[in-house]
């Protein structure tokens, strides 16, 4: 049964690319029984801290007028939440609203879990950059979610130590490699950064910057291009640095990584706009000593970045009040009061363009108090985010990445072979799930 159902979905998704509106049937067939009025209560699964306070604003303000009450049920983030949503969906019991990372949307859509809310979100589209909005439409005429936060990637470095060792901030990846080598010469026990094989999202973002499009549809079929020239370039670059010992090969987000950042053993970090929050706990002693710069480029003429993280608010097909839920999702992510509260209570970096340089983002984050124009710069960088292309089994690709690249990084062996393995496993899994995959 899932076989035919999924095939149907791929077909209809593809049909949408061609400009028809076949999928609209999928979204509304489950019925939007709210038709008239009457109080509506919605449940919302989210992992964002402080979301209950933001939702209170809705329940006391616009929600009260419309008699739409939203209840937050706080969840843990990550792939496990997708499994939980899909399990609940199987029983017809998914909540009305869910928070979902962009790369999870195709998985949810191909399982028919997300409703098409294109008719109920008004002109929300105008609040977001094209590349961001495109992630919630999956390139179709449907709209499966409203963007909430984004994670444009940036380069973070220890300003004081760069000065001490006479390093300049790299603007291209070649310079980045040179910088790593220079540092090794000046201070052999230090590393510029590490290649973390446990952070698939980071690698995906770097590949995205290089122009990779891992999943695309053509005709009736999916095409998987994980092992494409752009990604191979990225893999070869980092594999080379690890092999020659110019950078470390230990994973991030471990106690020893925290220690390395806190003591200045690692002096830079390729990360995203949310880095200040992580650094605050990982390296509390180096507050005010860091600075942010755009990600190095593959050629001096380019100006692009990838994204690492970011999530959206989606309405499920199980919801009996899809229109009300969509209304809330649009308010949450485009209303200036809501966005201000999200920034203040939850510390998110908003996807909505005008919120990126107003309210809480007029001042730099406390950790970067030395860089007054932090958020102005961040908004400029966000503007340059390359389009992303997610598929229905990102989790499988990510798992293989961790295994294959983990082993390769540890043994300092060939990253190319690891990349081929990632491609092969992803394709095999898609075929097993019943998707048609082009060669």
């Amino acid at each position: 049964m899932p076989y035919t159902k999924r095939r149907r979905l791929v077909r209809s998704a593809v049909a949408l690319v061609l400009g028809t509106t076949a999928l609209a049937a999928c979204g509304t067939e489950s019925g939007d029984s709210e038709g008239g009025s009457g109080p509506v209560s919605l449940t919302y699964w989210t992992w964002t801290p402080g979301m209950d306070k933001v939702v209170d604003l809705w329940n006391k303000g616009p929600g009260k007028e419309d008699q739409i009450t939203v209840t937050v049920k706080k969840q843990a983030s990550g792939d496990t939440l997708i499994t939980k949503i899909l399990t609940a969906h199987k029983a017809g019991k998914a909540p009305d609203l869910v928070q979902a990372e962009y790369q999870a949307l195709p998985t949810l859509v191909s399982n028919d879990a997300l409703a098409d809310i294109s008719e109920n979100v008004g002109d929300a589209e105008s609040s977001f950059a094209d590349g961001v909005w495109q992630q919630t439409t999956l390139g179709t005429d449907a709209v499966y979610a409203v963007p909430q936060d984004i994670g444009p990637m940036m380069f973070f470095y220890r300003e004081d130590l760069f000065k001490q060792y006479g390093l300049s901030v790299p603007t291209t990846w070649d310079e980045f490699a040179e910088t790593a080598r220079e540092l090794k010469k000046a201070a052999p026990d230090k590393d510029l950064t590490t290649f973390s094989a446990s952070d698939s999202g980071l690698f995906a973002g770097l590949a995205q910057q290089a122009g990779a499009k891992w999943w695309t549809t053509s005709g009736d079929q999916w095409k998987v291009s994980i092992d494409d020239p752009a990604t191979r370039k990225v893999a070869k670059f980092w594999g080379g640095l690890v092999k020659e010992g110019a950078i470390d090969n230990q994973p991030m987000y471990t106690p020893s990584w925290n220690k390395a950042l806190n003591t200045g053993k690692q002096i830079a970090w390729v990360s995203a706009v949310w880095a200040p929050g992580t650094l605050t706990t990982a390296a509390p002693d180096t507050k005010g000593k860091w600075a942010m710069a755009p990600l190095p480029q593959w050629s001096a003429a380019e100006n692009r970045t990838g994204s690492w993280g970011g999530s959206s608010t989606a309405v499920t097909t199980d919801s009996e009040h899809q229109r009300a839920a969509a209304k809330f999702a649009a308010w949450l992510n485009t209303d200036s009061e809501a966005l201000n509260a999200l920034a203040k209570e939850s510390g998110i970096y908003p996807a909505a363009k005008n919120a990126q340089t107003s309210g809480a983002f007029l001042k730099p984050p406390a950790y970067f108090s030395n860089q007054a124009d932090f958020y102005a710069k961040a908004a400029d960088i966000a503007e340059t985010t390359a389009p992303s292309a997610w598929g229905p089994n990102v989790n499988v690709a990510y798992t293989t990445f961790k295994d294959a690249f983990g082993a390769a990084a540890k043994n300092k062996s060939d990253f190319g072979a690891a990349l081929s393995e990632m491609q092969a496993d992803t394709v095999a899994d898609m075929k097993k799930q019943g998707f048609e995959v082009a060669r």
Partner: protein
């Protein structure tokens, strides 16, 4: 591993191993290799515990910067922060865990005692079949049942409730198995027969005669099930969506996985994990005295 140790008499079922009053020992070659192996094993098990205890005393600033086994100064602050997190939801999780584990283990022990006793005492058709199915159930990890159980309970509209977590954990194949083995060893057929001769009803025989004899075994079942429910993650994870109903395992998980743009609350999680172990330790210490009953119980001499 213990083969080098002094040979023991056959332990009576249910007796504490090692406490067997044996023949006079063949005098004391201290077995070096087993002792060292066991000591290493103990060290291996206790080191992470020591880490948790010490890390719980460190403030966020000290956690990753000071020497691993050097106690910090932040314990009171950590507990305060933990209690303040979302208006003390941590203690609610602790209460939920206690409720799930306490009630679940008690009911499970009752069900196990009843069915174990029935399987051990009565002869009826299908008894061996039931027992074989039970054995198969012991081999089946409960984890793989969580999703089917969710789908079933969703049919009955019971998900996201206390019942949804309790029901699947009340019937523990292992508990029933243990109760049957224990009842077979601790409740002699003669005693049951004597009760019947005196005209006691079957229920009375069970509650007044058999159950007291089975208590040490049931305490074991209770304890096993308590620990299993306390540590269970997947079942409540699938069943519950309201974080005020979460047990401690789920709650701590939500503290760790807060999304990329908010840092994991390591100090809170570590302190929370440390505090969550304390009730288990206390339970073991308190319940130990029931185990010592073990040696005294038994109504007939063999």
């Amino acid at each position: 591993m213990s083969s080098l140790a002094v040979p023991q008499t056959d332990p009576v079922a249910g007796s504490t191993p090692g406490a067997a009053r044996g023949r006079p020992p063949l005098r004391r070659r201290t077995a070096l290799i087993p002792t060292v192996t066991l000591l290493l094993g103990a060290l291996y098990c206790l080191l992470p515990v020591a880490w948790v205890v010490i890390a719980a005393t460190k403030s966020g600033r000290e956690l990753f910067s000071t020497f691993t086994f050097l106690p910090g100064t932040g314990f009171a602050g950590n507990v305060r922060d933990l209690s303040a997190y979302r208006d003390g939801v941590y203690w609610q999780w602790m209460g939920n865990s206690a409720l799930h584990a306490g009630l679940g283990a008690l009911l499970s022990a009752c069900v196990s005692a009843l069915s174990g006793y029935a399987l051990a005492t009565y002869r009826f058709r299908g008894r061996e079949t039931i027992f074989s199915v039970l054995l198969a159930g012991v081999l089946m990890p409960p984890v793989i049942l969580a999703v089917p159980q969710y789908l079933l309970l969703a049919e009955a509209d019971l998900t996201d409730s206390l019942l949804s977590v309790l029901l699947p954990q009340i019937l523990s194949p292992y508990g029933v198995y243990l109760a049957r083995v224990y009842a077979a060893a601790a409740v002699p057929a003669d005693v049951v027969e004597a009760g019947r001769m005196d005209g006691a009803s079957e229920w009375r025989i069970f509650t007044r005669i058999a159950l007291p004899m089975m208590i040490p075994g049931m305490v074991t079942v209770f304890l096993f099930q308590f620990v299993a429910i306390w540590n269970n993650f997947l079942l409540p994870y699938i069943m519950l969506s309201d974080d005020e109903r979460f047990p401690i395992t789920l709650g701590l998980f939500t503290l760790l996985e807060q999304g990329a743009n908010s840092p994991a609350l390591y100090t809170l999680v570590i302190t929370g994990a440390f505090l969550a172990v304390l009730p288990l330790v206390a339970l073991f210490l308190v319940i130990q005295r029931f185990w010592s009953l073990d040696l005294l119980s038994g109504a007939v001499k063999s």
